[in-house]
């Protein structure tokens, strides 16, 4: 037994034993973990689960975000959001199809193979806008996977354009849509949901849309916004609902906990999550979500330093996304991307793991083991 495992406190040992016997953890285990202060003991247990279930690869991919518009019908509804604007706002924008294609082509020159495209719920754009930009980008950059729209946007399309969920997804697929993104989950429990975003699509509807998507063969990822007003039972409730859906359909590729950032939001009085909490959340995600292969850390969102440490707490996927659209203006210069990738490889190796470049659906494209430096 490792020294770390032998120092796990008595109250957490039953959870460690369950993990060593590949037994599923329950809600009570989750709450106990979230209420415990023994951070590295929790990490030791989560690391054990990670090793047993998914091994030593740490995934990353080359993707870029294109947020097609920040005009959002829910602009005053989601209190945690600093992105959405109402139509007349001078900081509001909506990219034209041509602008989207230009951006995509610029990123493609830098080697990007996946476009992550989400935006506000635009009150005016017709459905053709979405199918057209998908079609146009697919034609301009055929090798790229188009990972577009959260369940919130899909739900919005069904209501605005009076189509069933299936119809929306099938028509998007026909245009070249590859898979859905995971945002919009926030936190399912009504006690939290009603404070954070009353009036927004519910957790039930989020899960329903994911189920329909999976049944059509459309993969999704899933998320949870944490670090605001929630209690441990809210977190566990959220994760177990996702776990139950995954038992049914197996369609979630990854779970990404998203740290709430208070600045410029209606909840700016809240302090936001600390490193201690970030790591606990990742560990609990790995331990409870035994049926989701990838638990992802956002490099930028929780700080690069904590993202690396999170690899010891159960994470096996790092999003090192090129976020700044200004990258596009470096027209053709690949130094920033390469540097970021070298940084990623180094920090993954420093954590004792093996970097593995993946595609959108978690097929391994290239393993960067030591010999292949």
């Amino acid at each position: 037994m490792s020294l770390a495992a032998s120092l796990i406190p008595r109250d957490l040992m039953p959870i460690y034993e369950k993990v060593m016997q590949d037994q599923r953890l329950d809600a009570e285990d989750g709450i106990k973990l979230l209420e415990s202060h023994d951070l590295f003991a929790i990490g030791t247990i989560a690391n054990e689960a990670r090793k047993r279930r998914v091994g030593d690869y740490v995934y990353f991919n080359n993707n870029a975000h294109i947020n097609y518009s920040n005009i959002c019908a829910l602009s005053k509804v989601c209190k945690f959001c600093a992105f959405g604007k109402v139509g007349a706002d001078p900081e509001g924008y909506t990219y034209s199809i041509e602008q989207m294609v230009e951006k995509a082509k610029g990123y493609a020159r830098l080697g990007v193979t996946e476009f992550h495209m989400v935006g506000g719920l635009h009150p005016d754009m017709p459905f053709a806008y979405y199918t057209d930009f998908i079609r146009a980008i697919k034609q301009a950059v055929p090798q790229a996977h188009l990972k577009c729209f959260t369940a919130v946007e899909i739900d919005f399309f069904t209501r605005k354009f009076k189509m069933s969920t299936e119809e929306v997804l099938l028509r998007l697929r026909e245009a070249g849509h590859g898979s859905m993104t995971g945002g919009g989950a926030e936190m399912f429990h009504p006690e939290v949901h009603n404070v954070l975003c009353k009036g927004k699509m519910s957790g039930e509807r989020y899960l329903e849309i994911h189920r329909i998507a999976h049944n059509l063969g459309v993969r999704t990822t899933c998320t949870m916004l944490y670090g605001h007003i929630e209690k441990p039972y809210h977190v566990v409730d959220h994760m177990l609902k996702i776990r139950a859906l995954q038992d049914e359909t197996g369609g979630e590729s990854a779970f990404i906990p998203l740290a709430f950032h208070p600045t410029n939001t209606d909840l700016a009085h809240l302090p936001g999550p600390t490193g201690h909490y970030d790591l606990k959340i990742i560990a609990v995600a790995r331990l409870l979500l035994d049926n989701i292969k990838a638990i992802k850390s956002y490099w930028v969102m929780i700080s690069p330093r904590i993202a690396q440490v999170s690899l010891a707490f159960g994470a096996n996927d790092i999003d090192g996304t090129v976020r700044e659209e200004k990258i596009y203006h470096f027209a053709g210069a690949n130094t920033p991307m390469l540097q970021e990738q070298n940084d990623l490889l180094r920090i993954i190796r420093e954590a004792g793991r093996i970097p593995a470049e993946r595609d959108t659906l978690y097929n391994v494209l290239r393993v960067y083991d030591e010999a292949a430096v």
Binding site: S2, L3, A4, L7, H37, D38, L39, F40, A41, G43, T44, N47, G227, A259, F260, H261, P262, T263, P271, G272, P273, T274, G275, H276, Y277, D278, L279, M301, I302, S303, P304, R305, I306, Q308, V309, A312, R346, I347, E350, A351, G352
Partner: protein, 356 residues
């Protein structure tokens, strides 16, 4: 087959049982020890030494009395040569006024820092300390560093013991023992003209201990040094602590673990590395009471996590620094309230430090 080979867990078990590790064993841990095992061992030592779970922090201000300097240490920014238009030297009154603002804002510790000068009189240095101490006797006053004291030796023709006695009489209440990062082979590389060899540095530290001045030992890593140099610094420091403890006056109140901007060509150390080094220091130097993980130096997220891996102090708020990395993407000055939140969230009890 090497029957004597011990892995990280075995070595940590040995250290936890109270046995001293051989230098090559410590070097192995430093270079190869994985984060989880190191951190759990660090946590165990911290719990034994501090079962009440109290975590210290201080409301601090660093006052730079002059930014003029000669040595060219690559990790230091903000110093200039004497004829540079941005050069300044504050009068004693100016320094006292700055300190007054800091104390009004709650400062419990003030650190006097400056470049290495050869043209200021001795009574400027003692005068600064005396003026601050007379005006704010309840504030713990950290002044100068071993390398500056070595310069005073030469400049003012005073023995180290004399220099320290005079500074103590003026009101010096603590020494941050900087200068140790240029130990061993690194001195010529940094062309640190006025930084001396390590035995002189330790001489200053010993004498502060005998004079009853608490010393904070820095453990600076990530400047391109190999593991054996890190361990060398820790082992020499541990020996000093043992000797001074036997004489009834332990030298070091605390060890402060942090990294600095490295020279060009050296990759900056990561938070992961910081956590490993905090744990390593805690496990190897069980005779130093406190291990500090500076929130302002390392960012609030990682420094707080170190509390579960051996650290029991978060350092000072450094009110002069307004761009600290706080939690959740916020940048701003660190406050006592935020320090307390970081500490209580880990289940520990914050303790505002007024004295080491």
């Amino acid at each position: 087959m090497n029957l004597n080979f011990m892995d990280t867990s075995d070595l940590l078990r040995k250290a936890l049982s109270g046995e001293k590790l051989f230098p090559d064993e410590a070097i192995y841990l430093c270079a190869e020890g994985d984060l989880l095992n190191l951190a759990m061992a660090g946590r165990e030592v911290a719990r034994r030494l501090h079962p009440d779970g109290r975590v210290g922090y201080a409301v601090t201000k660093t006052i730079v009395y002059s930014n003029v300097c000669q040595p060219e240490c690559p990790f230091c920014t903000g110093t200039v040569t004497k004829d540079d238009p941005a050069a300044f030297t504050k009068t004693i009154d100016e320094v006292v006024a700055e300190a007054a603002d800091a104390v009004a804002a709650g400062a419990t510790q003030i650190t006097l820092q400056g470049g290495h000068r050869i043209d200021l009189p001795w009574d400027y240095y003692t005068g600064l300390v005396k003026a601050l101490h007379d005006r704010f006797p309840e504030v713990q006053l950290f002044a100068y560093s071993p390398t500056e004291i070595m310069v005073f030796n030469v400049l003012f023709q005073k023995r180290t013991a004399e220099v320290i006695a005079e500074l103590k009489a003026a009101g010096m209440g603590g020494l941050m023992a900087g200068g140790s990062e240029t130990m061993a082979t690194r001195v010529p590389e940094y062309r640190a003209l006025l930084r001396g060899p390590w035995n002189e540095w330790f001489d200053v530290v010993h004498r502060c201990a005998y004079a009853g001045i608490p010393v904070v030992l820095p453990f600076v890593f990530g400047l391109g040094e190999p593991a054996k140099e890190r361990v060398g610094h820790l082992y020499r420091s541990r020996a000093v602590q043992e000797r001074t403890t036997m004489a009834g006056k332990p030298a070091f109140a605390a060890i402060s673990v942090f990294t600095l901007t490295p020279p060009e060509g050296v990759v900056p150390a990561t938070g992961h590395e910081h956590l490993r080094m905090v744990a390593l220091a805690r496990v190897l130097l069980q005779n130093v009471p406190h291990v500090q993980s500076s929130v302002v130096a390392q960012g609030a997220k990682v420094a707080q996590v170190a509390l579960d891996g051996g650290a029991n102090d978060l350092g000072g708020t450094h009110m002069e620094f307004t761009q600290a990395e706080l939690a959740a993407g916020r940048i701003g000055p660190m406050t006592a309230a935020e320090m307390e939140r970081l500490i209580t969230e880990t289940g520990r009890v914050p303790a505002l430090r007024t004295r080491w």
